[in-house]
């Protein structure tokens, strides 16, 4: 059970990293268009030629 004293703080560090990435993504305008991004994958699927 003593391992909890190590594991829980490690888990906490991961949470902090996740939150930092989330904030970075929001600030990078990735959440600007909530109507569109969910459907984007449906369109990229069809793509055969990559734009150069």
């Amino acid at each position: 059970m003593e391992s909890l004293f190590l594991l829980i703080p490690i888990a906490a560090i991961f949470v902090v990293i996740a939150v930092v990435i989330f904030i970075w993504a929001v600030k990078g305008d990735q959440f600007d268009d909530l109507n569109r991004e969910g459907e984007r994958i449906l369109f990229e699927d069809d793509e055969t030629d990559n734009k150069s």
Partner: protein, 792 residues
């Protein structure tokens, strides 16, 4: 089976044959414009657009405004609108006609295939494209042209301070929601371990570790994510008007403070789990509400660059609209909207003033007549001497009346706030009485008992009761085509006592339709007559012409426009005239006395110089569902009134005054507002569409604009009827009443729950984990109850 256009989905006039072989399929179109767009899209190998779009309706290009991009040839303007970085030039374009993800995809794909385009990003929510290109290989004018080829017109756009502020606010809300969500999950995990520990025993040292961890994760949630609630509470205290923000903040902060105390003294119970969950749910509700309301209303058009042609020093110039000054001579093409007030310099034209007056029949204007901004030029190129620009125009004056009306708008008492008001007072009195009683009894723990009372009454379910129900019903109504853009609408609709309708464009379609065709000569059939008229009118911008577009045009040569009279053209070698009585008079035909010429309908004649062939009667048609909707509203005991700018005869010709409780005609915009204001004390719903309705819309308790309304009307309305179907109104009223009922049930349940637990908490009889689970359960019940509103 009626045929529809492959691109835009409009019906194809009978007998018209425009078709192409696209991707080995035979496709038919309603016009050459749509055909060109579809061929371009398929030719560029982007036909996937047609499989993926939400509804089978593409945009029909209405106006070629590419001249606005010629303005960017000017160095100063170019520098203003185009960001010139080392890796290419960047511009933002506001797009019209973009409706779904497929449009965004099409634009991005098509543009990025062009040589010299470095990146394209289309934001669907705001309808703004951000484009970066290499100025050496492509110009902005070419880019705009490429957009036109696939059917989208665009305008250069410069985001203002307002946009920056809004986007910052939205980003903060998302970050708050994210932090609250992640924090809640972490704290919950520790909490479940602690509940288990409470039941089967746990070493104090592990309990303290879990408490510490929950403290660490709960702190940013409470101190950062919860900030909007504390701000609201402070505002409440200043205004001495309590809303739900106050008990919410009080609950959060007290529970948090006592938990920190408990952690520090290693006694009592921590409530970090309840606090974080509470904050997350409330933020979620608020966020969903704003998302449901964020709808592209076209307000950005004003911030976009627009071009206007002027005659300066005998030279034709294209200048930005903002640089237009009083005294300029502006040139407005048929079909364009006058951007400013002025005096007509050309001989004549007719003007559609429906946006100002609600009167849909075009008004003839002679030289020297006053022309108002926001009206639409119809049949002739107009030269206009500018007399007023910007804030001084008549249209801007209406906006100012609107602002005044908004500030005097009656407030709806929001039920949750009313409850909150008493709730706060009751909780504070109970808590202090408890504290007083236990201190008087000489109890050392008096303070802790008071804290437990406050925590138990934590108004979690109570404050969730309203937002959850409102969010659900807002989304359900949005699916039905009733878009709510302000917060108080549902509460107000539930208690609406009085509904006021505008006539033109609201109860009627606001456009001409053919009510009668009378043949005077049987050489031509009805179909032939309508075909000839369609041919005569095919190049006209007059609203009448649109009515005949549904018929296949006959071949007409040498078409001539006869201002404010009609049109003429040659059919099989003979000259035909189509127009009003004045036209018949001018070609020397004996006048027929028109018997039933009321003002609301328009009699038009097809004739040669020798004889009259047919009389076509046009009228603004009533929406078919109007009468039954009005009747069903009145059955529910709602007072129904009509306010129109039209004359009494005109209104009576299609509406029966018997249908209404009040029948007010000849109302000017501010008279409409004053009439609404005079109904004070009643909960009024105003339904309208035009610029002339805007002050009344703003002044009514709630307002609803039709989906095809002017931008300003939509901007100031509390809700928008996207379905354009009047029967959605009774549906919305019913949904609002249901919502009201659910909110009441939820409030009764939540208050009952608190009232039962309160005495037990005062007596110290509830184990903390039971309190915590009970709190979660009571919230869950409230949420589940609200989901019943999903069905309308």
């Amino acid at each position: 089976m009626s045929r529809v256009c492959f691109h835009c989905g409009d019906p194809i006039p009978a007998g018209l044959d425009i078709a192409s072989e696209l991707q080995n399929e035979h496709r038919e179109f309603c016009c050459f414009g749509c055909q060109a767009i579809a061929e371009h899209i398929c030719g560029a190998d982007l036909s996937f657009y047609y499989q993926r779009r939400d509804n089978a309706k593409g945009t029909r290009l209405t106006e070629d405004n590419s001249s606005v991009f010629d303005l960017l040839l000017d160095k100063d303007l170019y520098n203003q609108y185009v960001h010139q970085g080392t890796d290419g030039h960047t511009i933002q374009l506001s797009l019209s006609g973009i409706t779904c993800s497929a449009c965004a995809w099409l634009i991005e794909k098509h543009l990025s295939k062009q040589a010299g385009i470095l990146s394209v990003h289309v934001n669907l929510s705001s309808a703004i494209a951000t484009i970066t290109w290499d100025p050496d290989s492509i110009s902005i004018q070419q880019i705009a042209k490429e957009l036109l080829y696939i059917g989208y017109s665009s305008q250069p756009y410069l985001p203002g301070e307002q946009d920056a502020l809004q986007s910052k606010e939205k980003k903060r809300a998302i970050i708050r929601l994210g932090i609250a969500g992640v924090g809640m999950m972490q704290v919950m995990m520790s909490a479940i371990a602690m509940y288990a520990g409470d039941m089967q025993g746990m070493d104090d040292i592990y309990r303290q570790l879990l408490r510490g961890i929950s403290f660490i994760f709960a702190t940013p949630v409470v101190l950062y994510a919860g900030l909007p609630f504390y701000r609201g509470a402070l505002r409440d205290l200043k205004n001495r008007h309590f809303t739900m923000d106050l008990p919410v903040s009080l609950g959060i902060l007290l529970a948090y403070a006592s938990s920190v105390m408990a952690l520090y003294t290693e006694t009592g119970h921590v409530y970090f789990d309840s606090v974080t969950m509470f904050i997350f749910f409330l933020l979620m509700g608020r966020f969903l509400e704003t998302v449901a309301r964020s709808y592209h209303l076209g307000g950005q058009q004003q911030a976009s660059l627009a071009a206007i042609r002027v005659l300066r020093d005998d030279q034709l110039q294209t200048i930005p609209l903002q640089q237009l000054i009083v005294g300029d001579t502006a040139i407005i093409e048929p079909g364009q909207t006058f951007p400013v007030d002025g005096i007509l310099l050309s001989d004549f034209t007719s003007v559609d003033e429906s946006s100002l007056t609600g009167e849909y029949s075009p008004v003839s204007k002679k030289q020297g007549a006053n022309i108002h901004a926001q009206t639409v030029n119809i049949d002739q190129q107009a030269h206009l001497q500018v007399t007023e620009v910007g804030q001084n125009t008549k249209a801007a004056a209406i906006s100012r009346i609107t602002e005044r009306a908004l500030s005097e708008k009656p407030k709806v008492a929001i039920i949750a706030d009313k409850v909150a008001h008493y709730f706060v007072i009751a909780v504070l009195i109970t808590a202090s009485l408890t504290y007083g009683f236990w201190s008087w009894m000489g109890e050392d723990e008096a303070y802790w008992i008071m804290v437990s009372v406050l925590v138990v009454t934590c108004p979690c379910a109570l404050s969730l009761a309203t937002p959850v129900a409102l969010t659900t019903v807002t989304n359900a109504l949005k699916r039905a085509g009733f878009l709510i853009t302000r917060g108080h609408v549902i509460e107000a609709l539930a208690t609406t006592q009085h509904i006021v309708f505008d006539k033109t464009g609201t109860l009627t379609y606001g456009s001409f339709s053919i009510t009668q065709v009378e043949l005077y000569d049987f050489n031509y059939s009805k179909e032939q007559v309508l075909g000839m008229i369609s041919g005569l009118e095919q190049h006209s911008k007059h609203p009448i012409a649109k009515t005949f577009q549904q018929f296949a045009p006959a071949k007409i040569m040498n078409i001539e426009n006869l201002a404010s009279q009609g049109v003429s053209g040659e059919y099989q070698g003979e000259r035909f005239y189509f127009g009003n009585l004045a036209l018949l008079e001018s070609i020397g035909l004996p006048l027929i006395s028109s018997i039933n010429s009321s003002k609301a309908q328009l009699d038009l004649y097809l004739a040669t110089k020798k004889q009259i062939f047919a009389k076509v009667t046009l009228c603004d048609a009533l929406r078919p569902e109007a009468q039954s909707v009005i009747a069903s509203l009145r059955e529910q005991g709602i007072r129904v009134s009509l306010l129109t700018g039209d004359t009494r005869e005109s209104a009576q010709s299609i509406l029966d005054p018997e249908w209404f409780d009040d029948f007010e005609t000849r109302c000017l915009p501010d008279q409409k507002w004053n009439w609404i204001k005079a109904q004070s004390g009643k909960n009024t719903l105003m339904i309208g569409d035009g610029l002339n309705d805007v002050p009344a819309l703003a002044g009514a308790t709630t307002s609803l604009a039709m989906g095809a309304s002017s931008d300003l009307a939509k901007l100031h309305a509390d809700a928008i009827l996207l379905s354009e179907h009047l029967s959605t109104i009774p549906t919305a009223l019913k949904a609002a009443k249901n919502c009201h009922k659910i909110i009441k049930q939820n409030l009764i349940w939540a208050a009952g729950y608190n009232a039962t637990l309160l005495p037990l908490a005062i007596a110290g009889m509830i184990p903390p984990w039971v309190a915590a689970i009970g709190m979660a359960l009571s919230s869950l019940i409230v949420v589940v109850n609200a989901t019943r509103l999903n069905k309308l």
